[in-house]
Symmetry: C2
């Protein structure tokens, strides 16, 4: 199993740079004062499709051979990855087929359809999604682009940390959220490839703490039906992301639901930017571990800003 290294992430960045936003790094003196450290927010909520997922999807699409391009891409997802892959495919002039559960929210169906993808609806079970995907691959030869268990996707996700470190040279800690582990894999491989002097920490909801358990025990242990407001972090690590994280991450910290919600509201109120609950998880681990971050220059990867405003957790 080949594991992404810094050079792979740098190559990905050269490839995707013309298509992505180099998102801003924001600061807040109020939050620095409140948490007694110096925070740098890498704002992937301002990325295309409103999430870092566009980086990985674009790198995966741009890494296809011309034969693969002609047959298109496919994935099963109802979240940010589906929208990201749809837009990345459209920008490259290739077809994207997305398998979605028939009960997916209308707003998500519309987002994916709006990016011109071809949607196949299926029953809302993992088995039905995988079967529908298998049939599409069999029929069309499309390439499956997994949301995180994919080398090129991980390399793309790592480019957010690359830009962060290019802009802020002297960070002491970098924190990224962890669900399936694509973002944390890319982030940790990038940071440790640049310097061993920066700590890399994964932030996970306590209610979906499979990465914490896997990391602590050394045994890959998926979550079973986790329930958290951080709906982007429900997925579990894969063999690939677990390997990268084990090698490059210093620690995984968990955050309670009320900390996540409180920190989401804090960022909305004080910074006037919209972040999704998954992104607030990184600030919530800072809040819950004051001793660890005190006085430290800390980079936080803000994963996205796609929120249903009619179902706010606060």
């Amino acid at each position: 199993m080949r594991i992404p290294e810094l050079a792979d992430i740098q190559a990905a960045h050269s490839k995707i740079r013309p298509f992505i936003h180099n998102t801003p790094v924001m600061k807040s003196s109020q939050l620095n004062e409140l948490f007694n450290c110096e925070l740098f927010f890498k704002c992937e909520n301002f990325q295309k499709v409103g999430a870092f997922k566009f980086r990985g999807a674009t790198n995966a699409v741009l890494s296809l051979s011309s034969v693969e391009r002609s047959k298109g891409v496919v994935t099963h997802s109802s979240g940010n990855h589906a929208a990201a892959l749809s837009l990345a495919a459209r920008m490259s002039g290739i077809t994207a087929k997305i398998v979605m559960p028939e009960n997916a929210p209308v707003v998500k169906k519309n987002a994916v359809a709006g990016y011109g993808a071809d949607i196949t609806y299926c029953k809302p079970t993992l088995q039905a999604r995988e079967e529908a995907t298998r049939q599409i691959i069999e029929k069309t030869g499309a390439t499956l682009i997994h949301p995180y268990d994919n080398f090129n996707v991980i390399c793309g996700q790592g480019t957010a940390a690359l830009e962060l470190l290019q802009e802020i040279g002297d960070l002491e800690i970098v924190v990224a959220p962890v669900g399936g582990g694509g973002l944390l894999s890319g982030t940790s491989a990038c940071v440790k490839g640049i310097t061993k002097n920066i700590q890399v920490i994964g932030a996970e909801p306590l209610n979906a703490n499979d990465a914490f358990i896997s990391f602590t025990t050394g045994v890959l242990t998926p979550s079973v039906n986790p329930v958290t407001c951080a709906d982007g972090l429900l997925t579990s690590l894969s063999e690939l992301t677990f390997s990268v994280i084990k090698k490059n991450t210093d620690n995984i910290l968990t955050a309670k639901e009320d900390s996540i919600i409180e920190c989401m509201l804090l960022v909305w109120e004080r910074m006037k930017i919209i972040i999704e609950p998954s992104s607030a998880t990184v600030l919530a681990v800072v809040k819950e571990n004051p001793g660890l971050f005190e006085g430290k220059k800390t980079g936080l990867i803000i994963s996205g800003g796609n929120v249903d405003f009619r179902k706010l957790p606060f």
Copy 2:
């Protein structure tokens, strides 16, 4: 009555520049496509205290004589101006006394108290507020800083447009919201002082259209108990702001409540930034007057981002 000119606004900018944020100018290709013009958002929601009001309050405080400084400042307000004056005073090391109605929301009381101001509560009538303010002035000799009927405040508010035009040289239209008229006065005096070739348009809720009526009839006509979700635009023009606006503004356009709410949601969803309903009014007039803005490079002054997340209009 002396009317603010470009030179006054430039002088204000030199004075306040070390204390304010030079807020970013943001763009959105999605909104440009939707409205068929090129929009530049001057994001005063990222200003200190979350609103452009900090510019005017800071300029007013920095324009005091040393005798005036020693006696402090006073205003009656429960909104962004009270917070702005409190912080501006604290940063200058002078006292601020704020008269607030006793039924003001706790969150607003806390914000003003958090900036170290001395709050006097009164009955929730204009008469009680004015009487309490008069007594404070009599007792302490504090200088009244009116939220908009004040030369130095208007000059400070105009500095947002100055920065916008410094950054984007070739705008064709600038739109600012209008309530009491401080922001529109400063904006229009600044823009027309730089060039007569840029149109300046005021944006007002249809349900609080005193500026539209005053501008159209030529007779200052205050609103009576207006009701709009754009709670920063409930106030009416003063003689001073009306004079500046009559001289420098090309047109005032109104927007319906549902347009304002729709445009607020659009900015939240597509741009991932938090703007208050008053700010959405500028985009709402673009939406309601497509012919006027088609293909035009249009600057929008986003006045602020202070929103009660538990009382969203959508």
